[in-house]
């Protein structure tokens, strides 16, 4: 008898709780649905994102999602307009004085924070000092290197106040460098150089940037109702933005969707205007209406460990490796995620000839780039045998380890490379696919024979990639060395730093040497595949790897 009561009570509670939950949230859900539908007509852009925002503190952001959202709600000195840098809080794009060591930025007087405060030179001084302060624990503080004393401050050797920044007056901001930084203007559009409102940061302390209540905005949008780790968030047009009239889309809704099939379902049911495709879904949707890719500023390349294997010191052997890989098949059939063949360690679509903005750095060096990256197994075999002969290894067998990540795509990629490279006589590869962090550790400590290495640009300039393979670089895991290459890279950063034309030539020459020698074998540039609704216009990635959401338009 007792049991019956217990059972009945249990079932009642269970059903009751269903009903209760149903009631309490159905009211809110229906009102929300109404809101979304009514807003659709009223220009709401709905985008899928692959992960959450990890922080909105511009001193701490390291990932592209946080940077993108900071870019939506904040304004720095400059902002990209298409492929070129345009003034934002600064009133003009400044040319440096004092041999390229001093930048004096005049600031606009009509820029305001969303709390009503004007944006002043002090906001930049404050933010920059905060970033280099070791106590802030910024993982990007190294990007400040070159600004007077920055390196010593981040290392704790000099006081924070010695940073080479100064507010001459409320609307004049001066930066002093200790060596010329030829790509300084490009840096000024990036999130880690954004200003911060001192009052707000001090009020919230460590909590600054952990939810939208702790933030003030000076950019095109305002982040609302974001609690710190939400899967969805909304940005509304900021009416107090100095350039609010240029902002077209009134509201942006971001939604984290990790499953690509779900993303496509949502897109096709018109719940998303733009959906990110990954893995096999990207392959399936290729060619359908609305499909498109964006090139990310990351490149993938094959590095051969010269310290462990003498034969890789031979250029013909390295060329043979490179020519054995069918990159077209790798990107379209194996990866299929929107990645594109790249014949350079430098990403394309980030840097353009200073005298002719239509000329992409990678395209300009493509004649040397194509020479040894084109797929030619017969020629590869010849070069391989020539190389083995030159090093006295003819007929020998090489059992080597190919190191890679353990993601699905990376595993497929390793298997493909194994298949391609083993066509070289005597070359046997064992695959080692390990978690990202282990791959990094092993690559840096030289515990591999071949590794697929990747680099994502910190700033849009070829030098960011070229310095990866100089003699002293800690990223030069294969230990390729070339004196002429190093000298050219060095010259572009010193003697020719203030001469854009000469500097461009230095970098091209360096790139040609790297291409000729195949110091590393470039494989592809990372891409993202998207489905985009026809009504979304002007949503393109700028050279700094950001979407300028203020330029996007919705046309129904």
């Amino acid at each position: 008898m007792k049991l019956k009561k217990v059972l009945i009570a249990g079932v009642t509670i269970a059903l009751g709780s269903f009903a209760l939950v149903g009631c309490s949230s159905s009211s809110s859900s229906s009102s929300k649905t109404k809101e979304t539908t009514s807003n659709n007509a009223n220009s709401v852009l709905r985008i899928s994102e692959k992960d959450v925002i990890s922080t909105m503190d511009s001193s701490l952001a390291t990932d592209t999602i946080s940077s993108q959202n900071l870019n939506n709600v904040m304004d720095g000195l400059y902002r990209y307009k298409g492929k070129t840098i345009a003034p934002a809080i600064a009133t003009k794009v400044v040319k440096p004085t004092n041999n390229g060591l001093t930048y004096t930025f005049p600031l606009r007087k009509d820029a305001k924070w969303s709390n009503g405060d004007p944006v002043t030179a002090n906001d930049f001084v404050f933010a920059w000092k905060r970033t280099v302060n070791p106590e802030t624990k910024s993982q990007y503080a190294y990007i400040y290197e070159g600004i007077a004393n920055a390196k010593d401050i981040t290392a704790g050797k000099k006081p924070v106040d010695s940073l080479g920044v100064k507010a001459i007056d409320d609307h004049t901001f001066e930066v002093t460098l200790e060596k010329p930084i030829p790509y300084f203007s490009q840096l000024m559009s990036a999130a880690f150089f954004f200003p911060q409102n001192e009052k707000t940061v001090n009020k919230w302390g460590k909590q600054y940037g952990t939810n939208s209540d702790t933030l003030v905005f000076n950019g095109p949008y305002k982040l609302v109702n974001w609690k710190g780790s939400d899967n969805s968030w909304t940005e509304e047009k900021n009416d107090s933005y100095w350039n609010a009239k240029s902002v077209n889309v009134k509201k942006i809704q971001y939604q984290v969707v990790k499953d690509p099939t779900t993303a496509v379902n949502l897109y096709q049911s018109n719940k998303l205007d733009r959906a990110l495709l990954t893995g096999d879904t990207a392959k399936q949707m290729k060619g359908s209406d609305g499909y498109g890719i964006t090139k990310k500023s990351s490149t993938f390349y094959l590095s051969a460990n010269q310290q462990k294997n003498e034969i890789f010191k031979n250029a013909n052997v390295r060329r043979a490796l490179s020519m054995s890989v069918n990159r077209k098949q790798l990107t379209s059939k194996v990866l299929g995620d929107g990645s594109t063949v790249n014949n350079s360690i430098v990403a394309s679509n980030i840097a353009f000839d200073p005298n002719d903005k239509t000329k992409d750095f990678v395209k300009e060096t493509s004649s040397t780039g194509d020479k040894y990256t084109k797929y030619d197994p017969a020629e590869a075999k010849k070069l391989w045998e020539k190389g083995l002969k030159e090093t006295g290894n003819t007929g020998k067998t090489f059992n080597l380890v190919l190191l890679g990540d353990d993601t699905d795509n990376a595993k497929k990629q390793s298997e493909f490379l194994q298949n391609q490279l083993e066509k070289l006589p005597g070359l046997k590869l064992t695959l080692s696919n390990v978690p990202f962090k282990s791959r990094l550790t092993r690559a840096k400590s030289g515990d591999f024979d071949l590794v697929v290495y990747a680099w994502n640009a910190d700033f849009p300039d070829p030098i960011n990639f070229l310095t990866l393979v100089t003699k002293d670089s800690s990223y030069n895991v294969g230990k390729w060395e070339n004196e002429k290459f190093d000298a050219l890279v060095d010259k572009s950063l010193t003697d020719d730093a203030n001469n854009p034309t000469k500097r461009w030539k230095d970098m091209m020459d360096a790139q040609d040497i790297l291409n000729e020698e195949q110091g590393v074998a470039p494989l592809y540039q990372l891409g993202e595949a998207w489905m985009t609704n026809k009504r979304v216009k002007n949503m393109t990635l700028n050279p700094g790897s950001m979407y300028d959401m203020n330029l996007v338009e919705l046309k129904d």
Binding site: S26, S54, P134, G209, G228, K258, N265, S269
Partner: protein, 310 residues
């Protein structure tokens, strides 16, 4: 009874302490750093970062600091979410996971018990075969396959439910269904086997002899006695649902806690790993405690304290 529960709570705390300690040391053995940008930090910069976070101290010292903070209820701040406190992180993502998990468990156990009972009563009939078929299907089809199917047919094609996204209770129905099937099937299997046994026992004969109808016999005697083994598996199943909901959460884009756990491990986010391990352990142990208490209610022969009761 009170004494018993107090004793259990003491053991719970002791177990928690051991779990936390073991996790702490194992976690520190994982390669890499918790810094999301570690591939771009030079050795020198890494050293400075470690120093700032106190990660350069000997591990036993870090351990003591962590445990002392824990005593004060401080789980620390997350690395992946800069300066975000771990407790806020867990709490904000807990609700959806809990709602889906609880619904799935309630649905799964109620339907599972009913299905198993019907199956046993109609042993070897077509009803039994059908029920067996359903439970085998439920055990062999993983929740994420079911999730994708439910999403495609019920949401995408027929538009009865939302495809994904977290927008009110309606969004929780499909994921709950997807998750409910596996416990439903397992509970039904257990229930059937047990009830077939019970139905063959003497006291059932006696009950029939006393003139009770079939229905009365089943509800009064058979059901109750068959529930004991079922209760045994409900505890672990619940914990399973909570930890195993990650893939389903991904399919339906639910801001749940499951994926957070995996991500924290992938990124060496030490404080989050610790916080979530402790949290899951507590849930698991509470489930076991509830199971034990339920035993006592269902079966008066089970007395949890042998001497304590007079």
């Amino acid at each position: 009874m009170t004494k018993y529960i107090l004793k259990r709570i003491f053991y719970l705390l002791l177990t928690l302490f051991i779990v936390a300690s073991v996790t702490f040391f194992m976690m520190k053995m994982m390669p890499g750093t918790p810094f999301t940008n570690q591939d771009k930090l030079s050795a020198e910069q890494l050293k400075i970062m470690n120093q700032q976070y106190g990660l350069n101290k000997p591990i036993w010292q870090q351990y003591i600091t962590y445990m002392l903070n824990l005593l004060h209820g401080d789980f620390g701040t997350s690395f992946q979410f800069n300066n975000q406190s771990v407790s806020t992180l867990i709490i904000s993502r807990l609700k959806p996971s809990m709602l889906i998990g609880a619904q799935a468990m309630i649905l799964g156990s109620v339907l599972g018990i009913i299905l198993g009972a019907i199956s046993a009563i109609n042993k070897n009939s077509w009803v039994d075969s059908l029920a067996t078929f359903v439970s085998i299907l439920g055990i062999s089809v993983p929740s994420f396959v079911l999730g994708v199917l439910l999403q495609f047919y019920l949401a995408f094609k027929m538009k009865i439910f939302p495809i994904a996204l977290w927008d009110g209770w309606r969004s929780s129905i499909l994921p709950s269904l997807a998750l409910a099937v596996s416990p439903l099937a397992q509970i039904a299997r257990f229930m059937r086997t047990e009830m077939v046994d019970v139905l063959n026992s003497d006291y059932i004969e006696l009950s029939k002899a006393k003139g009770n109808t079939k229905w009365q016999t089943v509800v009064k005697h058979a059901l109750r006695n068959s529930l004991i083994p079922v209760i045994t598996i409900i505890g672990p199943l619940t914990a399973n649902i909570l930890t195993g909901s990650m893939v389903v959460e991904n399919i339906f884009s639910i801001p749940g806690i499951g994926e957070q756990f995996v991500k924290s491990i992938m990124t060496n986010d030490y404080p989050t790993i610790m916080g979530l391990t402790i949290f899951y352990s507590v849930i698991f142990m509470i489930m076991l405690l509830i199971t034990d208490i339920l035993y006592m209610i269902v079966d008066p022969r089970i007395r949890l304290t042998s001497k304590g009761r007079k």
